[in-house]
Amino acid sequence: MTSKLVVVGNGMAPGRMLEHLFELAPGAFEVTIFNAEPRVNYDRIMLSPVLSGEKSFDDIVIHGDAWYERHGVTLHKGQRVVAIDREARTVTSDRGVTAPYDHLVIATGSTPFVPPVPGHDLPGVLAYRDLDDVDAMILAAQSRAKAVVIGGGLLGLEAAAGLRAQGLEVTVLHLMPTLMERQLDPAAGFLLQRALEGRGIEVICNANTEEVLGTGKVEGVRLKDGRVIPASLVVMAVGIRPSLGLAREAGLACGRGVHVNDQLLTSDPAVSALGECVELDGRVYGLVAPLYQMAEVAARRLAGQPAEGFRHADTPTKLKVTGINLYSVGDFADAPDREEIVLRDASAGVYKRLVLQDNRILGAVLYGETADGGWFADLMKKGTDIAEMRDTLIFGQSYGGGSPLDPMAAVAALGDDAEICGCNGVCKGKITSAIAEKGLSTLDDVRAHTKASASCGSCTGLVEQLMGLTLGDAFNPKAVKPMCGCTEFGHGDVRRLIRAKALKSIPAVMQELEWKTSCGCAKCRPALNYYLLADWPGEYQDDKQSRFINERVHANIQKDGTYSVVPRMWGGMTSSAELRAIADVVDKFQIPAVKCTGGQRIDMLGVRKEDLPAVWADLNAAGMVSGAAYAKGLRTVKTCVGTDWCRFGTQDSTGLGIRLEKFMWGSWTPAKLKMAVSGCPRNCAEATCKDIGVICVDSGYDIHFAGAAGLDIHGTQVLCHVDTEDEAVVTIAALTQLYREQGHYLERIYKWLKRVGMDSIRAAVVEDPEKRQAYFERFVFSQRFSQVDPWAERASRGVAAHEFKPLADLSRFREAAE
């Protein structure tokens, strides 16, 4: 006999419970779920990557529609339960649907707490809890320039980072003297604040919000001390409250949350509750790890296999903002009977603090370097006596008398019961045995079978190390992929060795690095040619035979073997004289098609190869040069009309675009490089999906980069803000040079960023003026050799003339073939 199980709320806790239940007692329950949100179960903790644009909603769905179908679950999406009749054992939704239950599970989660200051209900004031909030923020980001986030805790800071990534100016208002004061001590809070400020997020601590200002919509926030911070979007992230209204009205015992025992039963034995809505032993919870533990306990009990009840354990906290590493666990308040061990390395931005009592760890705060977090947490959980290793404890587990820290050794030394995945409570032994028993060999396999690294993902590195340890050579996620079949070396090694061994020609590289083929292939030769050109400007002689046809003849080959010709139109500006010259060329050479490209210029398609030099000569005569529409190099710089014409323009975006294009044309880059400059955040030049984009604002220029809109669509990330046009030009050139020196061939800027990380890029071209200047100068130097119009060389100086004439004409043999 199946019994009827009704679940109120479809969040992370009941989702996990049902997974366990279907495994433990398949077919035992007929399940009906009511969810106020109009959607399936998703990974709420991954909302921030959705906000920042790194992930889409589909990426974070936990159970797709098929899952509900497979398990015969009725899911009422977008229906809020408004009443529970415990007598009749039914629940009723706001749309009037009533469902009977044998057992009821309440999992209504929490509700964001919105402080009742005046103006808190103005349009433009949002909370941060579900996908609708994220959608609203993304929408607001498109049209609004400035956001205020109230609350400098985990949630507020993730919101701030996400909004910043969306291009907004962001200010965080925090009531307390330091950020995340519940998880971090003041020193770590201070480091965190600095790191956020380094990313262009303003942080104001001791900020007591008095009022949200605005008539009809948000215009700013006023603090108690009188300061006014202008804002067109306000995100409230000051805390959450368990959602217990429904349970209370149904007469269930409630305190701060719905009261449950350690088997997750409420005061009514036919009703369970779990997740953020419950109070257990006087505690309420706000992180998933304990909720997942509740899910397991509840599922066992429902399946008739009750086991040990829920037990409290401290959950470590991490902030999921890319590039900021922090970890905290336990209790780290000062007290007379407590001792501490502190390690600071200012230059590396590292701070670690352990709080001890009676030779046992009570709490740990790690900032900058967090690899040992799991180990400290493990020692803490077990109450291990650390007297023996006290002197070296702070250096972490793998410290061995000064030898370099080997992460593999650290993982190897962990005990089988050491927790690897905090979110899902998965320990080392479970992962290693699953790998061995089920023959798992990929990270995805391990995620699917153990759930390790399947939630917030911050333990992915650890899981990979564990896989490496268990599988040996059979697992190598970051195995160097050879450039091509001609060599064992990957792109990174080849680039490094070209410089280290001062290799200055393709044959020299192939000789020294023991190429397996006589003269490479169509994959490695263009790459080597680029690396040598980028590394030895002025010295290396471009090898035309190692270039793809388009770059060899400076036109784009078409499917019928004809070519297209795209002249530069600086910043998209043109003139009657240029248009007339183009029109004349089209007539003279009977070019079949003329088209406006997606890059703000004109393409002449279907030109015969033999005609190319003459076409170029005519275009050159009118002052036009190659637009490099074929190049792994600077393509276009799109602009909008800016202050010249537009009523919203804040800076001369057209002028800056032209300046950039004239300064940077001719440069070769690992992959194509597209830029755009928009005169205001309305962004008509689409600068936020370009390799490098500039958004002009009243106070100067926001420099964005790492966007793309081709095979993958990526919004840009903000590199920095600069005040003047000159600074913008220097920063962009420095960034381009860094990319030229580090990028792998065909690796666009967004992929390069993903590989090397934002911090290293900012460190080189934003934070250190000397370094920036050095990159800038190297760019300028290399431009001395690259700003030669390839068309002019071919049209009038006979370069590569053989390309454009047949070797011989044997038409006279016509009869022979007939």
Binding site: C519, R525, P526, K544, S546, I549, K559, H802
Partner: protein, 116 residues
């Protein structure tokens, strides 16, 4: 005119860059003449068996050329498409004289065969 096959002068070895190609206009369309790194010379129809890409515009490496349109690799001596792909391009005899002159075998047989 000519009756049997005939070696026709098409230029000099030095006219083609190493690891490069030029084409010859013929009654059957273009013929691509390739010169490898080690000065071997090959001639093929200038039409990729895949979708007609001009092989003379590809990158020459070892004894092969990579088609510029979709990167199929073709062995110059046999005309066979390499690797997982299939197909074959017509090849023509070509020879280099002691003085560096290039000659292509043309005439009834060569072109008639090619016309099949």
């Amino acid at each position: 005119m000519s009756t049997g096959p005939e070696w026709a002068a098409i230029g000099r070895l030095a006219d083609i860059p190493r690891r490069g190609a030029r084409c010859v206009v013929s009654p059957l369309g273009r013929i691509a003449v390739f010169r490898t790194m080690d000065d071997r010379v090959f001639a093929t129809e200038d039409r990729c068996p895949h979708r007609g890409g001009p092989l003379s515009q590809g990158i020459v490496h070892g004894g092969s050329v990579t088609c510029p349109l979709h990167n199929q690799v073709i062995a110059l001596d046999t005309g066979l498409v390499q690797g997982p792909d299939e197909g074959r391009v017509r090849t023509f005899p070509v020879r280099v004289g002691a003085d560096g002159s290039l000659e292509l075998l043309v005439g009834r047989e060569a072109f008639a065969e090619a016309a099949e």
